[in-house]
Symmetry: C2
Subunit: 349 residues, 2 copies
């Protein structure tokens, strides 16, 4: 049995410091009205007694909460191994931003339909939820859309589908996609194909496609899209799209993909089929996932600023709770130049 250690209360500190309990509470909550000398005695007594404010009591009495619920939507099988690492980087950014604002984060990974849970706010455990994750788990997104409709405070990353009207924060998909396509153009690629869904319900992907098409048009070139086969991992979808592209017989020399995992799959297949990247085909992805550093060649990509993404999401949620103006947020991106689009050395495939 572990020894039940003595836990000091504010009354113990009050007695040790020779003041009343209310003064202890004021001093330790930083109320400036407390005399400096009094505060010092109290702080010292608290330190000696290893006293820390009981957060449940404080929350109950004040009604104030400093906790955000972060919901990571995973695949229905909840297998985290196959999970897009992009989401993890985002999670890190959110936790860091919350912490910098003195807030705590309750994190839950939710995937299985029968285990979805939005009771954080109703049970007063959090002021609201930040939701993000795979756009493929539609049941989960529908569930949290219903939570929001029901009065919960919900902010999401990305906005997975047109039917969803959650307040959102997104990457600067337009600027990122334009930078990606311009990078390909600047390095001599001309027959640049977009690999991703057509009419994509994921708005972030749709935005990337639109900017791709615009940028090509501005250069006097025709857009071309190679769509994905549903029901496969992003990596496998990239492989299949690249294979379909080769088999189509129509020449191409550049790929801009909806996300990095698709790009990595496509690159692997191109190499297998004897096409050199970047010599025959230039490839640029989107997301800045770490795996792109280790591919051969390393993947040129568009990387959102994850720290800013976390800040925007936390601030957006706080604003929503405070009833402030509905400002959406765009997160800046940067082009990360690695080896996969450094220039053609051969004729298009």
């Amino acid at each position: 049995m572990v020894k039940q250690r003595f836990r000091a209360t504010s009354y113990d500190v009050a007695e040790a410091a020779g003041v009343s309990q209310s003064t202890v509470s004021r001093a330790l909550s930083g109320d400036p009205i407390v005399a400096a000398a009094t505060r010092e005695r109290i702080v010292e007594a608290a330190r000696r007694l290893n006293y820390h404010i009981d957060s449940s009591a404080s929350r109950m009495r004040s009604g104030r909460l400093n906790t955000i619920a972060v919901v990571v939507i995973c695949p229905e099988d909840e297998d985290v191994r196959a999970f897009n690492p992009f989401h993890y980087a985002l999670l890190g950014g959110i936790c860091a931003a919350a912490s910098a604002r003195g807030m705590e984060t309750i994190v839950s990974f939710q995937g299985a339909p029968d285990r979805l849970d939005d009771h954080f706010e109703r049970s007063r455990r959090a002021i609201g939820m930040i939701v993000f994750g795979t756009s493929e788990n539609r049941a989960a997104w529908d569930y949290f859309q219903a939570s929001a409709d029901d009065g919960c405070h919900v902010v999401c990353w990305g906005a997975p589908a047109p039917a969803h009207e959650l307040p959102w924060v997104r990457a600067d998909n337009h600027g990122g996609a334009r930078a990606a396509v311009e990078h390909l153009l600047d390095h001599g690629y001309r027959r640049i194909v977009y690999v991703g869904e057509a009419d994509c319900p994921q708005r972030q992907f749709a935005e990337r496609y639109d900017a791709y098409a615009e940028t090509l048009a501005a250069a006097g070139l025709m857009p071309r899209i190679m769509t994905l086969e549903p029901g496969h991992s992003r990596h496998e979808q990239g492989r299949r799209a690249a294979a379909a592209l080769i088999d189509s017989g129509e020449p191409f020399d550049g790929l801009f993909t909806a996300c990095d995992d698709i790009a990595l799959g496509a690159m692997a297949l191109l190499e297998e089929r004897g096409l050199n990247v970047p010599g025959d085909v230039g490839v640029v992805g989107f997301d800045g996932v770490k795996a792109g550093q280790f591919s051969v060649p390393p993947l040129t990509t568009i990387e959102p600023d994850f720290a800013v993404a976390g800040q925007r999401l936390v601030d957006r949620l706080q604003a929503l709770v405070d009833g402030e103006e509905n400002t959406q947020g765009r997160v800046p991106v940067r082009l990360v130049v690695r080896g996969s689009a450094l220039g053609r050395v051969a004729t298009p495939a």
Copy 2:
């Protein structure tokens, strides 16, 4: 301004159901003594009023907590982009396991020395902490060791250094390393080098080395270690170690690395220097990170069961809090055969 919605209390439910407040509390907390008919009326009234137990009040009164603090130790600069994805998979496993046991997880990423924080338990926000992350942030590990010495309940993954005496859960490093080396031997590799620290303070790495040496010895072969240069990323350390190995002039045809990131760096350099993997050199890593699926060739590795790892950590913490026997935990691993060690087709380099 957001409309301040009415929030029902147990008194409102009591009135609606025509019972006393104590009976509401009993019914909703699942006390079996409540009559079935009474319970039904109460549950229905609670549903109608959208009532949920206030978790702060419940915790304060009962003194019971169902929250675990999860501390992810990151590099001091808190840059999550470069963070080993292995840790993220572990985080997912922990959150899933806690959730399956009806517990919540407060997650914090901690790196900067001036922002380390272990007050979860003293402020009654959590029953204890699960700590894991980069072994390189010694200040952070020392800090949480001090927390444990100070009476906090702390369980860690891995145990970064001999000076640390935290209760731990670890992978079956011995079994994993043996499987890795046997896989290399089975595919014809004979001059197998371990790439990692010698006398490594990280016990997990030390265990991997020991099993490597034992397995080679059992096959009548000599161990050889190529150590890492401190102050670089794991990937860069792998590159440099592979370069040093080639430059040493001593032939080798297999690498077993302390972790996947090192293996990926080493593979990249081998290819750059014109050595084929797996034709000239077989490579096996440890961790099962997703990036290994996308490398060329894909990386054969030892993958711990992240779901089991999460369960063991949560259970270990609960046992520690309950004062139960100090059982450490080993997490099973499996050999993931991909392309990087499929057999030699040439003479050793």
